[in-house]
Symmetry: D2
Subunit: 293 residues, 4 copies
Amino acid sequence: MKIAFAGLGNMGLPMVNHLIQAGHSVAAYNRTPARTMRLAKGIVRVANSPVEAARDAEVFITMLAEDAAVDAVLFGKQGAFNGLSRGAMHVSMSTLSVAFSEHLTAEHDAAGHAYVSAPVFGRPVAAEAGKLWVVAAGMQEHLQRAQAVFAAFSQGTFTVGSRPALANAVKLAGNFTLAAMLETLAETCALVRKLGIPEVEFLNILNTALYKSPVYESYGNLIAGRQFEPAGFRLRLGLKDVRLALAAAEAVEVPLPIASLVRDRMLAMVAGGAGGKDWAVLSELAARDAGMQ
Amino acid sequence: MKIAFAGLGNMGLPMVNHLIQAGHSVAAYNRTPARTMRLAKGIVRVANSPVEAARDAEVFITMLAEDAAVDAVLFGKQGAFNGLSRGAMHVSMSTLSVAFSEHLTAEHDAAGHAYVSAPVFGRPVAAEAGKLWVVAAGMQEHLQRAQAVFAAFSQGTFTVGSRPALANAVKLAGNFTLAAMLETLAETCALVRKLGIPEVEFLNILNTALYKSPVYESYGNLIAGRQFEPAGFRLRLGLKDVRLALAAAEAVEVPLPIASLVRDRMLAMVAGGAGGKDWAVLSELAARDAGMQ
Amino acid sequence: MKIAFAGLGNMGLPMVNHLIQAGHSVAAYNRTPARTMRLAKGIVRVANSPVEAARDAEVFITMLAEDAAVDAVLFGKQGAFNGLSRGAMHVSMSTLSVAFSEHLTAEHDAAGHAYVSAPVFGRPVAAEAGKLWVVAAGMQEHLQRAQAVFAAFSQGTFTVGSRPALANAVKLAGNFTLAAMLETLAETCALVRKLGIPEVEFLNILNTALYKSPVYESYGNLIAGRQFEPAGFRLRLGLKDVRLALAAAEAVEVPLPIASLVRDRMLAMVAGGAGGKDWAVLSELAARDAGMQ
Amino acid sequence: MKIAFAGLGNMGLPMVNHLIQAGHSVAAYNRTPARTMRLAKGIVRVANSPVEAARDAEVFITMLAEDAAVDAVLFGKQGAFNGLSRGAMHVSMSTLSVAFSEHLTAEHDAAGHAYVSAPVFGRPVAAEAGKLWVVAAGMQEHLQRAQAVFAAFSQGTFTVGSRPALANAVKLAGNFTLAAMLETLAETCALVRKLGIPEVEFLNILNTALYKSPVYESYGNLIAGRQFEPAGFRLRLGLKDVRLALAAAEAVEVPLPIASLVRDRMLAMVAGGAGGKDWAVLSELAARDAGMQ
């Protein structure tokens, strides 16, 4: 397939490589061109603008940090939107807001584009291994077409309905559960630490005797080791996702009390200057509130 | 070893059986005698009172629901405390409050008894399989002696210090993380359900793509299947544990905002009459607050 | 002065009457024309569109329920914005979002209009008595000009700076404190009621011995009398204001944990169908969570 | 009447003076004898122990900081309890827990003593002016007898039922509303301050245009002036009262989400070392969480 790909971050870059390996033809665009140097020369075509990348593409994939970035790439100066031919498909793999995804659905519909929303679970290391999980929503036939793309870098796809925004809701809900887990671990770690039990021991007990989960293990290690830089996932982005989960829930009148609480905790840490650190840094607030800093 | 065992509930009964299989001599006591009928006749000696069970015992094990029950068995009429000889050891395997465990430490010290606090992680099915996890605290030599007991029904022991109450704190903190997880799953399930995504699909995505945890799987099944009776762990007991975690934390001046929030949610459900159901029933409150009941 | 006035609700109508009595010339616009029937005929000029009202006006006052309504009146079809002459002043007296007020500031600036944001404290009865309190922000000279307007229906004006949006922030913060008070009274009423003490007695003690506040008295009466219809201030609007306070605070990185909590409580009541009732209806949720419904 | 009075703090001392002025005969006891030096010599009889004070007393009044202090004065070494004659009355004017007040009810009943619980609203300055408000509960005939005492230092008495503990519940609920108000003011002050509006201006607007309450005024002044020492009411005691409100509510299965939230905020400040300051110091936490310290 002829694929255009926008967003060559820690996730996007390995995804492009997998697409090439799977035999697709890829034109790549990144706002800061330096990142394109890491692409296999001669194999990936580098586009100087989104619209240039989009021209001739059967599938236009975006893997960008937030609504605003996707908005700029699609509708900004030399945006891809007008370059997409009727029948071309936009596959958005970012963690977008539900409202913006609804907006994209309407715009693409009106223009005769296919649109699939397909955020992924998995960190950069999973992207490199081609082991991401895709949560996709859209029209049945679009999802089928997109599956050839997903197969290149994922170990499985979950489909959650025909409204693309549903996939975004699932992704946001999932990220919110991670934030809630971080705050919960933070609070319990503050307690055991003040009682004199090393956090690393407590977290080891918790995961060995109870959760047996790689997620608890990896975040436990970050918390116990106070390893918040470089950030695997920045607190500021985590806060954004919890905010978007709250907004999506408010739109359908669903209160999320834990999300509200965690939002406030994250916001306090961002206000204190930790927005650029890994979101496991949330654990510092519980320690501070326990009088331990 | 000569062991006395008080508390023949869903956990205690299989533990006694494992102790017998491991070659120990056991005298068992239960408040309601009917439960003792399930013991292997002629092998386990049935005691008519705690003090009768405790007499001659090297180790007196309690596996009871709460502080008050342990208090009654030890210090009530025909209580075990006065029957224990100097040098005998009390191994408390219940989820007690930190304060009560401190109290037991002082009482046993004064009487020349050894005291080990050793609550377990694991549900009845793990007890039957001899696969519990023990979290133990106490003096080094007491812990060593107790290990022969733990080996009979557990797959491992974590020791967390010489103050017995520390083991209770770890157990309470662990149970609080489960309560927080339940409320988090409840909120996200209310959201996705109101958006039209079946809870079972969402929970499957969450655990396949993210947590990969048997705990998320089993509780996810209870929530998605609305299977709250019979209770694996009653909401009323879960509320008690979160309350005890908050009390233990307040005693050392550690705020636990998520525990406070979850306590209030559990309390609302108990006030509504659900105290006897499995604590996964907490998910009903999030659904109700979303206007879905 | 030549005044144009948009929004003839329970607040706007008496405000217009006071402006007439003070000798101003008023052209009034309301989306649903029926309301204009209540105006003194021949004295108030009825405009058929915002732009018609705005033409020739020295001051254009908006007293509307929310951002969207002001947006429509200014920038919608036959909107007032293009009818305002350079040097004319827009006085917005609604409870707008901080972000929208910033937006208006920029738009008016660019068009050479003066802009003053001046939300009011006070209920319809205070508007009728000409006893509102105005919280105003804007450039010094604009505030001075607007004072002639405010004097007609208020007992005092507070100025809070030259950035118009600051007045909106103060108004939103004030409304949030009311919401927090309502939830606090709701919780304590649930407690005393379940203990057998009539809410009316408790609220009487509270206000006599402690607060001595007309606000506590009037809301106390609504709660104790379960008088939620007709709504003095609809729950749905109250929720909107708390949400806007949270948004204004998030924009400057200030967590408001009580606002988050109250938002979730209000949202649950709105989800349950109470959005059109007086926001004192929040008290029903505390009663329900106490198992009393 | 022959009155014994235990507890000569900032509240108790002026109360004793008013009792003397009203013509009662008073025997006073204080744990630290130095305070008794401030009593009118020759008029107030100083007792060296609670039991000595209680002997011959018709009414034994306690005005002490907490359960433990009342427990010590009544049931400790040389405690008053055994000195009280049958028919004598204990009037407890402290902010006790509901559970302890129930305990006192049972003990006094068994011993043939009358028992009235009668906590007061009002700060030391109101005690000096004889302008306290009394919230009393107990048997009708006991309340009538006690009224002669209350008249000496109060401007009014509210009676809330025959179960003495109900008066404690009302007092605790009232104090919780103050704590909630403090946290609400703290959050809004953090917001307006970060926006550049002086807290003192905001608080002035709030109380002039909205609450018109001496309580908002006096606490507003403490917050805006950052005047937390000397403490009018110590944070540690405020935290205790919110905790007791939560405990009283949990006993009858009533969730108090705002109380839980405020408890955690107060606990964080106590953990940080502010327990001895005025509880208005809670405002510092909101400022800190906004990144302003």
